[in-house]
C-alpha cells in the first residue's frame, strides 16, 4: 500500500466495470491508435540507442498513426537542455525525463497530468505495487509513465570468490567489506569494489544502501528521516572505509559505468553494485572474466532501490494532438494496441532494461528476449517484494537536493568529513532544498 490509497485493489475498484477488462487491456485492444491526428508529433529523448528509438516510433507510425519527429540529445546535460527548451517556450509532445524531475515539471506547467486519459488507470493498475508511487503522487495525480525500470543488484565475480575461499556471495555490508579485504590481501584483485560514485549518481546510491539497511531516507511528506536512524551513519562509515582503505579504486569518483563494467569484465574488480541490466554490459564486453560475473540481491535485508526513468506528456492543449501523444506514450511506456510489450521487449533485447509491470516478466517474448544469464524470476521478485521507489524523489524540491548530494558524499569518501558530519550535511541539504532558494 502506498500513500493516497494507490494499491492495485484501489485502482481496480476505481475502474469498476473495467476491472475485468483491465486484465485484457481494454484501453489497448482493438483501438485505432490516434487516428484523428494527421500532423507531426515532437518527441525528445536522450541518446541511448537513437536508432532503436526511431525504429520503435516508426513502428507506431506505420500502424496508421501520426509521424513523429524524434530529437535526441546527449544524456549528460539532458535535464538542463530540456528545461532550457521548455523555458524558452518550446512545446514537446512527449519526452524522456528523470523521475526526480517529474513533479517539478508538472508544477511548472511543462508537463501534463495523465489523469482521465483513456486507459491510464489500467496502465497504473498493471504496475507492480512497489513501482506505482514513482508515477502517481500522494494526491493521486498520475504524473508520468515508465520509460524503463531497473533494480539495483550486486554483481560479483564467482571465480574470484572461490579462489579466495569464500563459499557464497557476501550479503551484508560487513560481509562485503570482509570479502573485499580478503580478495585484496590475497592479491586476487587490487581494488575489489567498484561503484558509480560520480557526483550526479551519489543520490541514487544513498537510497540503495540505506534501503539495504532497512532505512527509507524520506517519509512520504519528504521529511529526511534518515537523519534519525543510527544505521545511516553506519552506511557512511562503510562507504568511507571502502574508499579510504583502497578497497575501491580512487578513480571511482570520476569513472563512468562503461569503465566500471569493463573493470568487472577484465577482472580488475570483483564487486559492482548498479542496475540489474549492467550484467548485460559486463557479459557482452567478452572480457576474460565476463562469464564469471554473476548477479544477486544486495544485502541481507533483501531490500534494494527500484529506479525508473520516465516519459512525460507535454503541456500542449490541442486535444487531437494530445490524444495522439498519449497514444504514443502508451505504446512506448506500456503496451501496443495488441496488448504486447513491444517497446519494452525491444529494450530488454537491446540492453536488459525492464518494465515495472508483472505481466512484462511473464510475457514469453520478454522471457525469450532476456539472455539466459539473467535470473528473471529473481529480478521480478525483487521488483515485486524486494525493492522500493522512495516516493519523495518526485517531490518538486527534490532536484535541488539531488544536486547537492554529490558534494557532501564526495567529502565523506575523500575523508574531508566524518560520517556524522555527512548525516548533518545531507539533512541540511534536504532542509534547504525544501525551504527553496539556496546554493
Amino acid at each position: 500500500m502506498v500513500a493516497g490509497g494507490l494499491d492495485r485493489r484501489a485502482f481496480l475498484k476505481a475502474g469498476g466495470a473495467t476491472a475485468l477488462a483491465a486484465l485484457v487491456a481494454p484501453g489497448l485492444a482493438g483501438r485505432a491508435e490516434a487516428a484523428g491526428f494527421t500532423g507531426t508529433l515532437d518527441m525528445l529523448a536522450w541518446d541511448f540507442q537513437p536508432d532503436t528509438i526511431k525504429k520503435l516510433v516508426g513502428e507506431w507510425t506505420a500502424k496508421g498513426n501520426a509521424t513523429v519527429e524524434v530529437a535526441v540529445i546527449p544524456n549528460l546535460g539532458y535535464s538542463p537542455a530540456l528545461q532550457t527548451r521548455l523555458r524558452g517556450g518550446g512545446v514537446i509532445d512527449l519526452y524522456y525525463n528523470f523521475a526526480y524531475n517529474s513533479q517539478k515539471f508538472i508544477d511548472q506547467g511543462w508537463a501534463s497530468k495523465l489523469n482521465g486519459l483513456p486507459g491510464v488507470d489500467d496502465m497504473v493498475a498493471d504496475m507492480f505495487e512497489s513501482a506505482r508511487a514513482a508515477y502517481v503522487n500522494a494526491a493521486g495525480d498520475i504524473i508520468s509513465a515508465p520509460y524503463f525500470s531497473a533494480v539495483h543488484m550486486m554483481h560479483y565475480n564467482q571465480r574470484m570468490l572461490k579462489d579466495a575461499g569464500i563459499a557464497a556471495a557476501p550479503q551484508t555490508l560487513k560481509e562485503v567489506y570482509d570479502a573485499s579485504k580478503t580478495l585484496k590481501d590475497k592479491n586476487i584483485v587490487a581494488s575489489p569494489y567498484v561503484a558509480y560514485w560520480v557526483k550526479e549518481f551519489c543520490e541514487e546510491y544513498l537510497h540503495t544502501y540505506l534501503l539495504n539497511e532497512g532505512v527509507t531516507a524520506f517519509d512520504t511528506a519528504g521529511k529526511p528521516v534518515f537523519a534519525d536512524d543510527p544505521k545511516t551513519e553506519g552506511v557512511f562509515e562503510w562507504w568511507q572505509a571502502m574508499y579510504q582503505e583502497g578497497l575501491a579504486p580512487k578513480s571511482v569518483l570520476n569513472d563512468d559505468p562503461g569503465k566500471l563494467s569493463n573493470q568487472m569484465a577484465q577482472g580488475e574488480a570483483a564487486f559492482f553494485v548498479l542496475h540489474h541490466y549492467f550484467l548485460s554490459s559486463i557479459r557482452s564486453l567478452g572480457g576474460p572474466e565476463s562469464a564469471n560475473v554473476m548477479q544477486g540481491p544486495i544485502g541481507g535485508a533483501n531490500h534494494t532501490f527500484q529506479i525508473g526513468e520516465v516519459l512525460q506528456l507535454g503541456a500542449g492543449e490541442d486535444p487531437a494532438r494530445r490524444e495522439a501523444a498519449w497514444d504514443l506514450m502508451k505504446f512506448y511506456g506500456w503496451k501496443d494496441s495488441a496488448g504486447k510489450f513491444t517497446v519494452f521487449n525491444q529494450w530488454a533485447k537491446a540492453a536488459g532494461l525492464a518494465a515495472p509491470y508483472p505481466g512484462f516478466f511473464k510475457d514469453p517474448d520478454v522471457i525469450a528476449a532476456f539472455p539466459e544469464y539473467f535470473d528473471l524470476p529473481m529480478i521480478s521478485k525483487t521488483f515485486e517484494t524486494g525493492s522500493k521507489v522512495v516516493p519523495a524523489r518526485t517531490l518538486p524540491w527534490y532536484p535541488d537536493f539531488q544536486a547537492k548530494v554529490g558534494d557532501v558524499v564526495h567529502a565523506l569518501l575523500l575523508g574531508q568529513a566524518t560520517p556524522k558530519q555527512t548525516v548533518e550535511g545531507l539533512t541540511a541539504a534536504a532542509n534547504s532544498a525544501q525551504k527553496g532558494r539556496s546554493l
Binding site: S79, T84, R87, Q108, K199, K250, S251, L253, D400, L439
Partner: protein, 304 residues
Amino acid sequence: MSTPMNSNGSLSRDDRRFGFRLTAPAASLLAVLLLVPTTLTILYSLHDVPANGRSLGPFVGLENYTIVLGSSVFWRSAKVTVLFSIGFVLFSTLIGLAMALLLNQRFIGRGLARALLIIPWATPWLMIGILWKWFADGSVGGLNAVLLMLGATSDYHDFLSDPNSALAITIVAAVWRQASFAGILLLAGLQTLPDDLNEAASLDGANLWQRFRNITLPWLRPALVTVTVLNIIYAFLQFDVIFAMTQGGPGDATQVLSILIYRQLFGVTQIGLGSALAVILGFVALAGGLITVKLLYRAERQPA
C-alpha cells in the same frame, strides 16, 4: 590633404558624426547582444523567478545576493575560482611569452612550429577538456606514462580523483590552449620590434636579460596588457574544460563559480540565485580586468 584633427587635437563635428555613423551599426548590435541580456540578468537577480520563466516572479530586492554571499558553498567556489584564475593567468601569460620569444628566433622549421602553435588555440575548449580527461586518466591516460618515463612519479596516479591534483590538472589543460593564444598575440607584437634596437643595445654591451628587460618587455607592454586582461576574463568565465574533466569534482575541489552558476540556472533552475551569482562573477571579472589595466599602464608611465 586635410587632417581630420582640429588644431587642439580633437575631431571636427563632421568627422565625429561620420565616426558615429560608422560605428552605429556595430554599437547597436553590441547593445542588443550585451546590454539586453545584462539588464535581464540584473533584473532576474532581484526577483524570485519561477523555473518556467513565464514571469519575473516576486521582487525580492537584494535577498538573492544575501543568500549567495551568506553561503559557504559560494565562498568555497570563489576560492577555487581565484586559485584557478591565478594559475591560469600566470602560466598562460608566461608560457605564451616564452613561446613567442622562442618562435621569434630564426631556426629551421620555424614556420612549421608557428603553424603548430595555432592547433591548441583552434581546438574548442570542450574538446580540450575531453582530451585531457582521457590523458589524465589513472589507468589508460598518457600523462602517467610520461611522468613515469621522466621519473617524476613511481606509480600510476588518479589525478582527477584526487582533490589535491584535480585543480592543478584542469589548470594545465586550460593553460595548454590559452598559452598558444597568448603566444600568437605576443609573437605578433614581437614581430613589430625593430631589430636595430636590440643591435644597438648589444653594441652598447647590454646582455640578453638587459635587452629583454629594457627593450622587449616595454615594447610588448600594450600586447601584454591585452593578453593579461583577456586571460583574466577567460579565467573567471572558464567552464567547458573543467566541466568536461571533472564536472566540479571530486567533491567541490574544482567547482568554479561558472559551474555553480550553470548548476543553479540550468540544473535546479533557481534563476534568481543563478543570476545573482552571474552578476557577482561578471563584476569580479570586470574589476579584475580593470585593475590589471590600471596596474600595467601605471607601470608603463613610471620611468624605467
